[in-house]
Subunit: 72 residues, 2 copies
């Protein structure tokens, strides 16, 4: 695993969830309680989020935070 | 899952790895490339580490970062 892989995993999973829900980045960001530019950075795997930050976002969008990191 | 659960998981897994290796907190911290007080806080689940921070520590101690978050 390369450094940055975890945040890239989180990003691709967040994007997949948003697309599956048919939401814009702005609406998804609102649901997650973050600014749309931050959500954009998260989706692109550019944000080095903390574990608590990840839990907060996951809670707000109603998913298990581990599901954002690990394949089912 | 409650907020803080992820960092508490990381802490208990780090401690288990250290104990299994028969290392002091200080030697384990040196191996992980962090200060012993920071490692103590990590082991107690008190540190809100970032995803990259977790990857760095895991790399230094030779484990998969996901293994610090998820049961085998």
């Amino acid at each position: 695993m390369m450094e940055g892989d975890l945040q890239r995993r989180v990003g691709s999973r967040l994007r997949a969830i948003r697309v599956a829900r048919g939401l814009s980045q702005e609406d998804f960001a609102d649901a997650a309680g973050v600014h749309r530019t931050y959500m954009g950075g998260l989706e692109r795997g550019e944000r080095n989020i903390t574990l608590r930050g990840l839990e907060r976002v996951a809670e707000r969008i109603g998913v298990d935070p581990l599901k954002l990191l690990v394949d089912d």
